[in-house]
Symmetry: D2
Subunit: 336 residues, 4 copies
């Protein structure tokens, strides 16, 4: 940490800051400059809580050099993490995975039809939402536990592991019983209690980036899960909120190679939620894979025009098959 | 709702859209134009779920005229809502309230000292956090239920109602037992399950705006609480996330008069979290009240330099007293 | 400046960085830490160009402590600047000014009618746009030099100094001939050539904040003008672009007290462009003054419904008179 | 256009709006609803200026269906535009182009060395900046006209056409004399006077997206150039400003396929400015090409560590050669 003093901070104020740093068991190295003094903080392991410093008289700002995460950092864990779900492997050195399925589970028939589209197209994992976070209370909220059963049955019917979103801690038992991977949605990325609870599970966790989360906050959210003992975390970029409304969100593909530099965890991309437009899903899926994503997650539906949720971004069987053909060609170019 | 067709949509596609609208029990009024056809949707009450339409061939976009909230809208409930907490009244026609207290509850002594600062300065409601949402797991997470007790004791000692944040549904009983107002924090504004549960309580709810929530989403989140039967909701603007980092968040004061136009619910402002800078708290509090806020929520701490959380934005006793003197003068100018 | 090295930077890399710093005539102070080494840079006056450092092997990031401006900084010029325009004084210790007038100059009659509204309401300075930046080329682009004449005539008729926007360097002579204050619009805040040219004038410059400019960039843009010798610069906050669309822009009022801390230049607020809504102009004007603005700039028009530009945010004579009555009461509360 | 009336707008207000629409020579089609009345506007060609409507009593909002651009729209010009610069062709059906060169021109030697790197790596067009927009006035501002000569000489030496940024209208003659393509930088995307002037040239124009420009504004800016008669416009996405600071800007790759849908103009991507990080340039270049970009623009420098500008994002000869090898393999996968 670097502590920057005010232009006109007194020598006594600088001393007081040094003492406060030393009271924390750390060393303080003053760096006098022509304009102002700065004080380097040494000896810390990981992020320093600056509370006791930031408020002292004469302190202008505290600049953090260490990050609020460590367990997820590649600095301290250079080996890439491989998350295995049944026979499916997600991570470096393995072909990217494709997760496909409907935004929401609507009926056993719809779910099985979607599962067949997913499997026939070549996806490895089936998705489907039983608990749906919706902006307003008057929209369809999902089938709940009944939906979980339909998802499991559909997954078993086609022989695919399944992933579904968990929205509250009370759902944990049920979701763990029916699903192979627990998904934390963007709106819950900083629902820290939920993160802690899934951190106590042994299920892999698919953690979606919050819509206004910085990369640092995203990795710090993952740190909550690892800190509880669960290191089977799969990150997922799904677009961030910006001023641009031509797409539903702004897909921030540059974080894919950045995450690969900074962390050992695998990272997926969800082009369906990021763009909100069916016509962009296939092309942005390919861009994501070229950017280094360990997989993609896309919405498919047997009849998107009748979908109860997010039909505008869902592919039908034909579109998914066509996209997967393209992706196979791309993977072969990428060496898989 | 207005459905805008593609430039080259066929007559058959327009007809198919009309039929889909009618199948929903609504009327469709085509508006042929030189560039493209649009179709007005009539007969709906409130927001129309556009799922069955948006995905039809030839549809370019669906433009919503109705909003995803109704219960919170002044259109349908012109009378302003007054929220009463003991003797304190929050809403139109009553002097703005001041909520004050520490970011986090640290000890019985700290809590009582902060309560005295709050009361002596002239605040009406005491705040304090027992459960703390923190970016990383290695920061102080709050005292939990023990903290709730300290808060209650401090409130009783100074004769003030208390407000505290609830982070998970399991905390509901405890928080309802100890607190007079339940706070939903910015990170949980779209934790819809939590919203539904507090909607079933009889306690007033202080709902903070999410850091990337539009005003429409903010009001739709409040709608979740009202839809469950609890209409004692107090909104709170606390800054939004933008590219600007000179302040912790960007205080969006213009939503104060806008909320007063669009909704009947009272709206407070939290200048401490919005700015993150002690030197801006008093001045932005006054600006908030002039903008029409029904109150403010500020952080005070007996010794900000030793605060375990957010000390940089907390006022000490002296600063709070001085600010409240200014505010009393302002209220007298405002006619209270 | 603080140079942060990679976790695994070698001793040779650290040495190379030190040498590069010393080659710039500065001192390098290594700060070894447990996780990584940082290197403090000493001896610089003002902002250090980090180009020669940032790219060296082993460097993770360069953190700037000095700012890219100095002439506009209160650190080096503690005295507040007072800008005088005829008898009007803008700055600390003087009553806030009101600049009023139409968005665009449409005709001599419209301009004189608007000027009378401005004067009768109690404004001190008249505004009007002759050159209009419009999103698309098919919208009204302003009357050009003819408009400048109408503005001057209207200003003379009511005895008020006038301000108008300059969009290109070739307009400088004409604008200087007709106007008392040169306005640089938000879209030109980083039109650095234009900034340099107005920096060579002796006219005061009203510099509007760019719609995605940080406070630091805003002040650095003003630095361009001061660096050429013109220190009569008036800053103007007019809203920034964020994800929120309920208002045209997001008025960032917190920068008003921040600018007063960081700079000696006066700062105005334009609530008309910031909110884009007539119903919010008066209330946000008052909030701006309470936040410490040295004045406001508002749009008035004799017949807003017929305005060729931005009528939705313009006040008519009646509305302006009413607002100014409120503002006089507020100024008396503020001690003017 | 759709005009939405207030919930409680009177019949007289609705009638007044209808009359105002008809006074514009258009038709008004009222759509009465249960909650509120809306009025469809028919008969317009292109964007309707809503000024005379938006401000009428009882009007809540005007929703535009037409866009503020037409000449750049694929709706009215389905054929893709091909921009030819000497033997280089930019647009559909031709291999993507690579523009490479230093951020700023520093000396004849540096420029020739960079040109050789560009040519030897396989780039088709040479870039280099003679006029540099910099945040603060104390940074290197470019060599000016001398730089233009060095650029031209370097281009001639390696047989490549050259592109350079123009910052002010007075530079037009000089830049046209030395350069083959005129670049409008992000900060000038809405410098409408400059757009009009380059619209009168016969040189192709490379228009970069403003850092907070929506896609609609980006296309409307191009419309300014086409409206003056110059249709040889090449768009360039270079990242937008968001809350995320892990990269310099947020590369918005999804606009690439969107621009291809909405417009007939070619679109390039600049991964150097978008990410600001050398390690991300090659990977994001490939992602851009897979997303459908008609080319990329990257910064190369013979000695990035000594670059006077933006060295952190510049590739050296070795890195560029390696990247271009990868890109050749990718182009062969893409069928070129």
């Amino acid at each position: 940490m670097l502590i920057v003093m005010d232009h006109n901070a007194s020598a006594a104020q600088v001393r007081a800051v040094q003492e406060a740093v030393e009271a924390m068991g750390l060393q303080a190295a003053p760096i006098p400059g022509r304009e102002r003094t700065a004080i380097g903080v040494l000896g810390n392991q990981g992020y320093v809580d600056d509370t006791a410093i930031r408020n002292l008289p004469g302190v202008r700002e505290c600049i953090h050099v260490s990050k609020p995460y460590k367990l997820v950092s590649r600095d301290f864990h250079p080996e890439s993490t491989l998350v295995e779900v049944g026979a499916v492997k997600i991570g470096d050195g393995h072909p990217p995975v494709v997760i496909a399925g409907p935004c929401s589970i609507e009926s056993p028939e719809q779910m099985v039809a979607a599962a067949r589209i997913a499997r026939d197209g070549g996806a490895q994992i089936l998705r489907g939402g039983a608990f749906k976070p919706r902006t307003g209370p008057h929209s369809f909220q999902g089938l709940g536990e009944k939906g979980l059963k339909y998802l499991r049955q559909a997954g078993d019917a086609v022989g695919m592991p399944v992933v579904t979103e968990i929205m509250r801690i009370e759902q944990l038992d049920a979701v763990c019983r029916y699903a192979d991977i627990l998904q934390i949605g963007a709106r819950n990325m900083q629902n820290f209690d939920l993160l802690k609870e899934v951190g106590k599970c042994r299920h892999p966790v698919l953690l979606k980036r919050g819509m206004s989360a910085t990369l640092e906050e995203f990795l710090a959210a993952a740190e909550y899960i690892l800190a509880e003992g669960n290191s089977r975390v799969i990150l997922c970029e799904r677009g961030i909120r910006t001023f641009e409304r031509a797409t539903r969100n702004t897909l921030d593909l540059s974080v894919v190679p950045l995450v690969r530099e900074l962390s050992h965890l695998p990272i997926l991309v969800d082009p369906s939620h990021a763009t909100g437009k069916r016509s962009l899903v296939a092309v942005m899926s390919k861009a994501a894979l070229v950017a280094g994503a360990h997989g993609i997650m896309v919405e498919v539906h047997p009849d998107p025009a009748k979908a109860l949720c997010d039909g505008a971004q869902s592919l039908d069987g034909e579109e998914f098959r066509e996209m997967m053909g393209d992706i196979r060609a791309l993977l072969s170019y990428l060496g898989y």
